[in-house]
Symmetry: C3
Subunit: 273 residues, 3 copies
């Protein structure tokens, strides 16, 4: 029975925030949770989402969560509206539970009709600047002990949704954007593999043309800018053993133009195979 | 009986260092501790205290420790004097145990008359540059197994104390300092909420006047510099969805002047309430 | 019996990568491993090896691994050749198990004749850009459950070896290199303590002479450049309570010339003692 699944105990909490891995705030949340449930285990998915960037957190969460065990609880605190009237959410899908501010960061989950609660839990002491510590962490810890979400919130039917910016598909080009840059300077665009029905002719970013499309970094010469389908399943701009972001001056949000053949819609897609 | 509490086993070690979260040194200390006690769990409170900054470590520790479970052991290694004659300490309060160099980083604990030992434990191999690995980590692991502190050190009655710089309260102003800057560029001052008996008239930092006082970030317009009481309970300079440190050029140690009304001593304090 | 040791269960995985501690990729690997073996514990040795720098990873691993418990499994993913024909390895020494790309990062282990397997395990879905997630993490998790390496790979007798650059010993000088710079700006050279039979006369780096040799940082004045034997057992350039890398403009790879006395080969070595 679904309710039983929900009320069973969980021990893994996956943390995603913009607090900074250098800061004490993720550790403080862990202390709060361990005080309530000493059996908890934590994985930091990342504490270095670009500050206030709800969309980046959404992207990372959406494309990472299926690698975590069933029953994991995700604590997502990218919360530019902390202290305002924005609500907090508990969202339960078939496999996972999510606790986050109601600011759209969980938007991609709502298509599958999860159970959603608006958090009504109030701690004894509530700051107006750190609900991660005062509300979300204790709610996660209580859920992990099997506490019924209905005692921590009430059912909610219109959570905030944000539009995930999709690429614009034209006859002979696709207009997209850089949405994530990793530690290697690899630049993930919002152009998913499914839009590529053949090898693209070229990619233009900041007036620079990239024509080499590879299926693994090592197919390229060192220092050569390339297009590749990355491990999230999206088109990425990279430089083999280099840093595309620094070398090409690319930042998150930059526009990309992908040139494709006009008649390419029914061919076999390239990529990871 | 107090002794029994101390000798009972602990499993949570909270780590606070200036080693850098990028460096292998926190991981090496964990390896040393797990070799002695494989049951240990760790929370990194932070490994990115500003190098050598004992006062910053003290501030973070003092305002974080009450969020951790009773029985936690705190391993604090901000240790500019490593390899010198400075001692190592074991400090036991009613709730927690602390292991740290005797350089004042635990000063704030001594008002409550904790039990204090000077570490006499000597490892087989002792470097002169990494006592965190060679002394403090093994001492923590042994304490976690219930080893009596008296076998690892001897009682000590005059640990090093450092003065925590208090703000200077004048008739119509408070002179303080920036003591901590977080990942969002929010600048914590040493002016605690208790000194604010009414909403301050203005704050001056580096010849810049800030007049807006809010109780949550979202009360301010985006980009507007504000004063706020933060989650540590201290006056903070911030910019809603911006970075006050970068925008206003603020660094740790900078002086702040807080303008208050001359006759404000007995009114209701503002803030988080 | 050796086989039994290998097939026994392990619970500690030590992670060393160049993914960046800010990135979600180490967390994703942990999710993959916990999905296979929920009992695993992790220590991040570092996720901030300089991108693509196999030699730096080798150095950190070689000088850290003896601090971890017997039975630990090391997951080492510094993998500039990901997606190419380079193999993956399982290496079993008397104390530990290692899983890594076959790019030389484990070279230092091969002198002791460990058991080596070439990974043949193939996941259902294999990207060409993130074998850490798709191959190495599941292999580690399966090994931790006691799965026989022979079912995940086949014995392999010529793994890739890379030369660890040794210093050049001349009559009156030693020519070395900076190989690792830590969070304090301390610069580790490749000159091991065993090469120093007396206190060196001076060290030259980038036309700067350093003449002070100390056994602990605190023997030096604040701001004074020094030579010291560090906690890895190597000659290091440091500045007491300062940052030698920034102040002296030192980067990894820079050459150092250590001036020694012509007749110093049989004296007692200086250092940590």
């Amino acid at each position: 029975m679904e309710r039983n699944t929900l009320r069973s105990k969980s021990s893994l909490v996956v943390i995603l925030t913009d607090f900074g891995s250098r800061s004490p705030f993720p550790g403080i949340m862990k202390g709060v949770m361990l005080t309530i449930n000493p059996e908890l285990e934590f994985v930091d998915l990342s504490n270095d989402i670009t500050p206030y960037n709800v969309m980046e957190a959404l992207f990372v969460l959406k494309h990472s969560l299926h690698y975590f065990p069933d029953g994991s609880i995700f604590l997502v605190v990218v919360d530019p509206g902390v202290g305002s009237e924005r609500k907090g959410l508990i969202v339960k899908t078939k496999k996972h539970v999510f606790v986050a501010p109601d600011n759209g960061v969980l938007s991609f989950l709502f298509d599958t009709n999860p159970e959603v609660w608006k958090i009504t839990y109030k701690p004894e002491r509530l700051s107006k600047t750190f609900h991660g510590r005062d509300i979300f962490a204790p709610v996660v810890a209580k859920l992990s002990l099997g506490v019924d979400p209905g005692t921590l919130g009430k059912r909610h039917y219109n959570p905030v949704k944000i539009e995930i910016p999709e690429p614009e598909i034209k006859k002979d080009k696709i207009l997209g954007r850089v949405i994530f840059i990793d530690n290697f300077g690899n630049c993930t665009t919002n152009i998913e593999q499914k839009y590529l029905h053949e090898i693209p002719r070229a990619l233009i970013i900041k007036n620079q043309h990239i024509e080499k499309f590879v299926s693994s970094y090592s197919e390229a010469k060192e220092g050569q800018p390339i297009m590749i389908i990355n491990s999230f399943g999206f088109l990425e701009i990279a430089i083999n053993q280099g840093n595309a972001s620094k070398t090409l001056g690319i930042e998150a949000g930059d526009e990309v133009i992908l040139l494709i053949s006009p008649s390419s819609s029914s061919q076999t897609p390239p990529g990871q195979g």
